[in-house]
């Protein structure tokens, strides 16, 4: 469960490492292009997080080299610039995802999980949480043996909650995750609430305990307790 992080902003790096460690990932840290280059072959990473704007080199180049060296690890580009061309170029070079700064850590984790699933899983993977089983590829969800019909957004939301189990997640992060940066945001928090309500109702109706806890109006927590 090794992750390589190439990021020149130390405080940001620290945050990412702390959060990912809580999720059980091990992190290899690199703060420059050069360090990143040296660390590329150190481990068999499940995912690499690469900042494009490095003091001593172009992150895109690192993406290219990383893709040649370790074809089976996922790459997520992190950039403060949200230029469409850069995004397209990054994805063309073999990156799996593109995250724009500033992002939510919960969103980062969800994306890491998703990328890791896509690059590592052989055959159908089943995620379980308490009584809930989800098959991300098929977009199906079961509570014990009972299939639950979820809409696309509800399914995404469930996966997001499962990726961030036992963490406090804010409604802003959910909105951003579900609708992206121009689609989400303002006005969509009400919709987050509605989606959550519907998801909760469907799961409880199928016989699952209510795992979605409301945290003092601050956010939500998906936990067994």
């Amino acid at each position: 469960m090794q992750i390589l992080i190439v990021e020149d902003e130390i405080p940001l790096m620290e945050s990412m490492v702390s959060y990912l460690k809580m999720e059980g990932f091990k992190c290899e840290e690199a703060t420059t292009y050069h360090e990143g280059l040296c660390s590329l072959d150190k481990h068999d990473y499940i995912c690499m997080l690469i900042d494009l704007n490095l003091p001593d080199g172009d992150g895109l180049n690192l993406v290219k080299i990383a893709k040649q060296n370790q074809n089976n690890s996922g790459i997520i580009i992190i950039s403060a610039r949200n230029a469409l061309e850069e995004r397209v170029r990054g994805l063309e070079l073999g990156a799996d995802d593109y995250l724009v700064k500033p992002f939510h850590l919960s969103e980062l984790v969800a994306r890491v999980h998703s990328v890791a699933r896509r690059t590592r899983s052989q055959g159908e993977e089943i995620l379980t949480f308490g009584m809930i089983r989800v098959m991300p590829e098929e977009r199906t969800c079961f509570v014990e043996d009972k299939q639950v019909d979820l809409t696309r957004k509800e399914h995404d939301l469930l996966l997001y909650l499962m990726s961030n189990r036992n963490r406090v997640i804010t409604k802003e992060s959910i909105a951003d995750y579900l609708w992206g940066e121009y689609g989400g945001g303002y006005g969509s928090y009400d919709f987050v609430y509605t989606h959550l309500k519907n998801l909760r109702r469907k799961l409880v109706d199928a016989g699952s305990p209510d795992y979605i806890k409301n945290m003092y109006g601050v956010g939500y927590k998906f936990s067994l307790e």
Binding site: H104, R167, G183, G185
Partner: protein
């Protein structure tokens, strides 16, 4: 009023007035001159008449060359008469017309008797001359005026050519594009004008560019500290020994950082649209564009039980613009139509040849219509909304020369975008 018209009008008015006054004076002087000439002639004839007076009395003479008519009558004795000039109307037997005559009235003595003598001379030839000269003068004045008129036009076209060139270039000046380049005028004042203008626009362009760069850098540089605040508060939120109050404090910091970063991203987007950093020119089918973006909002629309009515009368209508901007434009319009709709409301989408429209049901605006496309225009009661979405749409439309208009009728807010001809159907 145009410069040329105004100059011509000034010249015409002034010269008409001057020529009118001059004409009157000229006419009077000419008239007086001809009169004194007649008087002189009559005085000369008077001397001749004095010399040959007996012949007149005797009847041997009845006229003299240069004289039209003469009358001699005995005067009452003791009467004193000074020589006297005057004008009179008399019937001319030759032309059978009344004509003006100049006369000289005087006393002549012969053989102890006094006679009053009147000498008449027709003024017609002199009047004719005055008339002809005046006519000639008038024609000359008209010709002169016409000459001035054309000369003025000619001078104008040549002299002010550089000025009008400069004006044309100024009209086309666009701060985002090339700096202003004017020709080399040979008139000193225009040369100065050119220098001043070039200096000004240069300054304007460089200021603008600097501002753009500044905004670009600031928004970019702001994202990193914002990212740190966001992630640190998110981490803090995960610690288990926090009470509800602390959690809410952290959440409000996190939420504000989110707000700030969204605002920043959006303003950066506007700056990038303004500085025309989106250069893609894709021919996009409007029906596909609209349906693709609609798909993303399908669940939201279903959640609020909004019904979407699509009237696509021209399914081939295309729009030529950057794909990314097209997505943003449609996304913002759709989002606006959903957020400001009512539960169970309607959205109408219409694509026609050369235009498309999007309408949604909803309460009337709580602010002025003219504020709608301005930055930060929003319903102050609704929170979590910047009021930047429509200003982005407007910016994008301006960028491509689309005309966007808004109206509110029968509880329907409608936005209509008119597309220019070059992106019509194929």
């Amino acid at each position: 009023m145009k410069l040329l018209t105004k100059t011509t009008l000034y010249i015409a008015t002034l010269s008409m007035f001057l020529f009118f006054i001059m004409g009157i004076i000229f006419f009077q002087v000419l008239k007086n001159m001809s009169l004194s000439e007649l008087n002189r002639e009559l005085t000369r004839i008077q001397k001749v008449v004095d010399d040959v007076f007996p012949h007149f009395l005797g009847g041997q003479l009845s006229g003299l060359p240069g004289l039209d008519s003469i009358s001699i009558q005995p005067a009452s004795p003791g009467r004193v008469l000074k020589d006297q000039f005057g004008d009179t109307l008399m019937f001319d037997t030759r032309t059978h017309q009344f004509r003006t005559f100049r006369y000289l009235h005087f006393l002549a003595d012969h053989g102890g008797n006094s006679y009053t003598v009147k000498l008449y001379k027709s003024t017609t030839p002199a009047d004719k001359l005055v008339e002809q000269v005046t006519l000639l003068m008038t024609v000359m004045v008209i010709l002169f005026l016409a000459g001035i008129f054309f000369l003025n036009r000619f001078i104008f076209a040549n002299l002010w050519k550089d000025f009008f060139d400069t004006l044309d270039k100024l009209k086309q000046f666009d701060i985002v594009k090339e700096p202003l380049e004017l020709g080399e005028p040979d008139v000193e004042e225009f040369m100065e004008l050119k220098k001043v203008l070039e200096r000004m626009t240069m300054r304007l362009s460089s200021d603008y560019k600097e501002l753009q760069e500044y905004t670009d850098h600031t928004t970019h540089e702001l994202q990193t500290p914002l990212a740190v605040i966001k992630t640190k508060t998110e981490l803090l939120m995960q610690s288990s020994n926090l009470g509800p109050e602390e959690m809410q404090l952290i959440q409000s910091i996190n939420s504000s950082a989110n707000h700030l970063s969204r605002l920043n991203t959006t303003l950066a987007l506007i700056t990038r649209i303004e500085s025309q950093q989106f250069t893609g020119r894709n021919k996009i089918n409007l029906v596909h564009l609209l349906d693709d973006q609609l798909e993303k909002f399908q669940e939201l629309i279903a959640l609020r039980e909004i019904s979407v009515v699509r009237t696509y009368s021209d399914r081939k209508q295309t729009i030529t613009m950057d794909q990314g901007l097209a997505d943003i434009m449609i996304t913002n319009l759709l989002k606006n139509a959903i957020v400001h709709n009512m539960d169970g409301g309607k959205i109408l989408l219409e694509i026609k040849n050369g235009s498309f429209g999007i309408s949604n049901e909803g309460a009337p605006l709580s602010f002025g219509e003219q504020e709608l496309f301005k930055r930060f225009a929003r319903d102050k009661k609704k929170t979590g909304n910047f009021g930047l979405g429509l200003s982005i749409v407007k910016k994008i439309c301006d960028n491509y020369g689309f005309k966007i208009s808004y109206n509110y009728k029968n509880q329907l807010h409608t936005f209509t975008i008119l597309l220019p001809d070059n992106s019509s159907s194929f």
